[in-house]
């Protein structure tokens, strides 16, 4: 048993050198090498290469890390207090606007006022988040959709924006105006983020066409379709936002 009748392949010998074999197999290879001097010589040479490469490159580990590298990790965090302040400002503006409208509005509800502002605030708050932008990531897409559909009491979907270069990052549950709301986050190859906010705007909501708002660097395209209010938020040109909105509209209607 200890003698291997057939020669050990070169692949196995490389794996032996690199410590990729389990112990039992390594012991077999070792025994075989003891009787095959030519192969043993090659194994020795490969090991020497590994050691030489380590000797060449390991000193880098002991060098002081340049400050610019650690700083590049901190930079996004530094802007966070500013972003948080912006988000708070948004909420105050929203509250004031809501209060001002409250007094003189006529009975037919101005449908979209609260929900698209909430969507904008949610975007400002979470799209800036580096570590925890979503509660449930795109890895668990079906769970995400089921969970949020259940909470909103509507059949939700995650539209595919890949044709426009945006991949789903994930989503989260948020408090909406009249109950829960859902936020789905997307991101392009450069890391630019886009959020789709879905809420139930209430029984007296009227369907609307796409409407566009531009505030504080964030752009919102929103619409009401049947019993759901949609708001698409991102730092995109209006035309491009509209392209994305069409995909979202189609995803919920076909």
């Amino acid at each position: 048993m200890s003698e291997s009748p057939q020669p050990v392949s070169d692949e196995t010998l490389h794996a032996y050198v690199d410590g990729q074999l389990d112990t039992a197999r390594a012991v077999e290879v070792e025994a075989w090498l003891a009787e095959n001097m030519e192969a043993a010589e090659r194994v020795r040479a490969w090991r020497a290469q590994n050691r030489a490469l380590q000797a060449l490159l390991d000193p880098v580990l002991d060098e002081a890390v340049p400050a610019r590298l650690t700083e590049s990790l901190q930079r996004p965090r530094r802007v966070r207090p500013w972003r948080a302040a912006a988000a708070v400002a948004w909420m105050v503006i929203g509250a004031l606007a809501g209060y001002a409208l409250h007094d003189w509005r006529t009975p037919p509800v101005v449908v979209a006022t609260p929900f698209f502002e909430r969507a904008a605030v949610a975007h400002v708050v979470y799209a800036a988040e580096v570590l925890h932008p979503v509660e449930v990531s795109a890895e668990q897409q079906s769970h995400l959709v089921q969970w949020l559909s259940k909470r909103l009491g509507r059949e939700l979907r995650t539209p595919d924006f890949a044709p426009l270069g945006y991949q789903l990052v994930g989503g989260r549950l948020l408090p909406g105006d009249k109950g829960p709301a859902a936020q789905f986050m997307y991101q392009d190859a450069r890391g630019a983020r886009l959020t789709l906010y879905v809420s139930t705007p209430g029984p007296d909501a009227q369907p609307t066409a796409f409407r566009y708002e531009k505030e504080a660097g964030t752009r919102v395209l929103y619409w009401v379709d049947r019993d759901l209010g949609f708001a698409l938020v991102g730092e995109l040109e209006q035309a491009r936002l509209l392209d994305v909105a069409h995909l979202a509209y189609q995803a919920f209607n076909f």
């Binding site: 380590q54 390991d58 060098e63 610019r68």
Partner: protein
């Protein structure tokens, strides 16, 4: 301020970058590009998988793109001792020869030698970093070792960079 989860991996990212690009500044530029890209993609990182291998994957992709751009090629053909690390210029002859030999290898050979031999990734991890099947890692490794030995023995013509 608490440290970022990427921070502990910086020394090894720098070591790998230095194997890919001998010039310290360029190697650190590659590390910085990698970290910045990783920050924007961190939401896509699957918890429970190896963060280091994930960072190496991003670095590999960045490096491959660099190799494909003409501006990068134009710079690498220059050979400027002044910009090399002090360690490398003061190296004993054998290590200096090795550094030069490593630079003469094809990028894919250099990568596999260092990922397996220095970074000690498993063949499976190396395959995922390089985006190739495990069998390709093994055959590349075999050819890379043969090639390195030939270059070190002084019998080989320098590797010519391919224009893809």
């Amino acid at each position: 301020m608490d440290s970022h989860p990427f921070e502990e991996h910086i020394p090894r990212l720098r070591r790998y970058a230095r194997a890919l690009l001998r010039y310290v500044t360029r190697a650190d530029d590659l590390v910085q590009d990698t970290l910045e890209r990783a920050l924007t993609k961190y939401a896509l990182f699957r918890r429970g998988t190896d963060l280091r291998a994930w960072l190496f994957t991003i670095m590999h992709n960045f490096h491959i793109n660099q190799i494909r751009t003409a501006s990068y090629r134009a710079v690498t053909v220059e050979y400027d001792d002044a910009e090399m690390t002090p360690e490398q210029t003061n190296d004993p002859t054998a290590l200096r020869d090795l550094a030069i030999a490593l630079e003469q290898l094809a990028p894919e050979h250099r990568e596999v030698l260092v990922l397996v031999g220095v970074e000690q990734l498993t063949y499976g991890e190396a395959a995922s970093v390089l985006g190739v099947p495990i069998g390709t890692v093994m055959s590349r490794l075999s050819r890379a070792r043969e090639r390195l030995a030939t270059v070190l023995s002084g019998e080989a013509a320098p590797y010519l960079r391919r224009v893809k």
